[in-house]
């Protein structure tokens, strides 16, 4: 297992349980040593970042890690989450990287993602070990 400085968490935001299961295994296979959390929609992702709701037991606010964000989710989708994310304190977000996961390289989605400063990159699903390694290596 490889531990990385500044990688205190990986948050998987996806409403599909099996996708989260698979992504979890990919992270393990890439031998990345970081706590992996799962949020089933944008609201839960916000709860993680603010240590409320489902994540109320966290002692501190997560400050350094990667968020893998799905676009199409019920309750609060990826775009709606990003709107709320923008309002969070910027010092908290300095070391947080949002990677948007898309099912197909939809033109509209990619234009929209490119014009959003909070999205560091767009990755076509499914997530694979090579793609994950590239994201991690770029971070160091």
């Amino acid at each position: 297992m490889r531990k990385f400085d500044g990688l205190d968490f990986i948050l998987l935001v996806d409403d599909d349980e099996s996708t989260n299961f698979v992504n979890n295994i990919i992270i393990k296979k890439a031998e990345i040593d970081a706590p992996v959390h799962v949020a089933f929609d944008g609201i839960e992702a916000l709860e993680f970042l603010t240590s409320t709701g489902k994540f109320a037991s966290q002692k501190t606010l997560p400050k350094s890690g990667i968020i893998f964000l799905d676009i199409n989710m019920p309750v609060m989708n990826g775009w709606e989450f990003l709107e709320e994310y923008r309002k969070l304190n910027s010092t908290q977000k300095e070391n947080i990287e949002i990677v948007m996961l898309t099912t197909s390289l939809n033109e509209d989605d990619s234009t929209r993602a490119n014009s959003n400063v909070d999205i560091k990159r767009l990755v076509n699903k499914p997530l694979r070990i090579e793609k994950l390694n590239k994201i991690i290596n770029d971070r160091i």
């Binding site: 409403d15 349980e17 099996s18 299961f21 698979v22 295994i25 089933f40 929609d41 019920p74 309750v75």
Partner: protein, 407 residues
């Protein structure tokens, strides 16, 4: 003889004329009536609707003249369209330097008097003229000129109408072709997609039944997910296929909504008993509709009302209607969890869900089906709701569906 100048915007003018696709069409009585009237009013033996292309003037209507076209160099109308005046009049062509030796003046049909009003298109370009011709000198009264102008506007109206009709015909044809294509696409795509999914499901079944499969926890879990993902895919594909086929072969007929809703309630007996839902139904109309589709619409809205009821609150559902001028408007009201204002439109889109799958199951197709059914009935569907304060789903059915024509 002095031939006509080219119009200052000749190429634009020719394009405009071409867009009417009128040249070399058969005679039509609508146009012939107008030339006959022009002749009568101006008291001339000849009246023409002349359209001028790059080489000739062609007559859409030629009252009192055999020829159906003449060369452009000889055409009086080719002069008339360059004239800024409302009407171009030659009282005696024999005395006019431009026309005195024109074969149309010296020979048949002996054009001595000519008055032409340009036919101006919407882009302000002259396409030709409505003109009257006599073989003796003449003057027109103000009244006659006024009438000739009015008639030229009517010619232009006919031409515009024809152009719009052609456009409409073309769009309808394209629309029909596209719809057909889309139907085919959904059908083929969904059909071909089902095959591999079924194979995956069968193979998982085989593996699970293998007696000595020493699967570890991750492998087991993976199989579970493969199995549920394949089943979900199968359900999605089936829903897509159903959605595509909706209303495909349906026929409009007279149906009694009371019977329809009564049958739906009978179908849903188990669900209604289990949820203890109280359903009141007002007297409903008899109308023209697609029976099976309308049944689905009521059924789905009732199931929806029960599914999204508040926990530990008896679902109370009311079905009623209002006869509007053009539509029948139905409503299915409930006392359930309601919908946030911002999702009021999203819920009718295909495969959109508002809740996590664990909270409320489903693949997000029901209301898009309902939307398509309402559209099939030339109506619409929408929801009035407040979060936590129940929903009122309303849909309309056009009252004039009896003469329905499918596009």
């Amino acid at each position: 003889m002095i031939g006509p100048d080219e119009h200052i915007k000749e190429s634009e003018r020719l394009n405009d004329l071409e867009s009417f696709s009128i040249l070399d069409t058969l005679p039509e009585s609508d146009y012939d009536n107008l030339t006959r009237l022009a002749s009568q009013i101006c008291n001339t033996p000849i009246s023409l609707i002349s359209l001028i292309d790059d080489k000739r003037q062609w007559f859409k209507s030629h009252h009192g003249l055999e020829a159906s076209e003449t060369p452009k160099e000889q055409a009086f109308c080719a002069h008339a369209i360059n004239d800024q005046e409302q009407v171009f009049i030659i009282e005696d062509a024999r005395k006019d330097i431009r026309f005195h030796d024109n074969p149309l003046v010296t020979g048949d049909p002996h054009v001595i008097f000519y008055a032409g009003v340009p036919l101006i298109s919407e882009s302000g370009l002259p396409l030709g003229t409505l003109c009257v011709i006599d073989n003796k000198p003449k003057t027109l009264s103000q009244d006659q000129i006024h009438s000739l102008n009015a008639l030229s506007k009517q010619v232009m109206n006919l031409l515009k109408l024809r152009k719009n009709e052609k456009l409409l015909e073309q769009s309808l044809k394209t629309l029909k072709a596209k719809n057909k294509e889309l139907e085919q696409f959904t059908f083929i795509a969904s059909h071909d997609l089902q095959e591999p999914i079924n194979t995956v499901i069968s193979l998982i079944d085989i593996l699970e039944e293998e007696p000595n499969n020493n699967l570890n926890a991750i492998e087991k879990k993976s199989f579970e997910y493969i199995y549920s993902a394949a089943h979900r895919m199968k359900a999605l594909v089936k829903a897509l296929l159903d959605y595509g086929k909706l209303g495909e072969r349906a026929q409009v007929k007279q149906v009694d909504c009371n019977t329809i809703v009564k049958n739906v309630i009978k179908d849903l007996d188990a669900l209604i008993k289990e949820s203890k839902a109280q359903i009141t139904i007002n007297k409903l109309p008899t109308l023209y509709a697609f029976e099976v589709e309308l049944m689905f619409l009521f059924k789905y809205l009732i199931i929806n009302a029960i599914k999204f009821s508040k926990p530990n609150v008896t679902p109370v559902i009311k079905i009623s209607f209002i006869a509007e001028n053009l539509n029948w408007r139905f409503s299915v009201e409930d006392n359930g969890i309601g919908i946030d204002e911002k999702y009021k439109e999203k819920i009718f889109l295909i495969f959109q869900r508002l809740h996590q799958r664990v909270t409320y199951s489903g693949i997000g197709i029901g209301l898009s089906h309902c939307n398509k059914i309402a559209e099939l009935h030339k109506g619409g569907i929408w929801v009035d709701s407040k979060l936590n304060h129940g929903s009122s789903f309303q849909f309309t059915i056009n009252k004039n569906l009896k003469h329905y024509e499918k596009i």
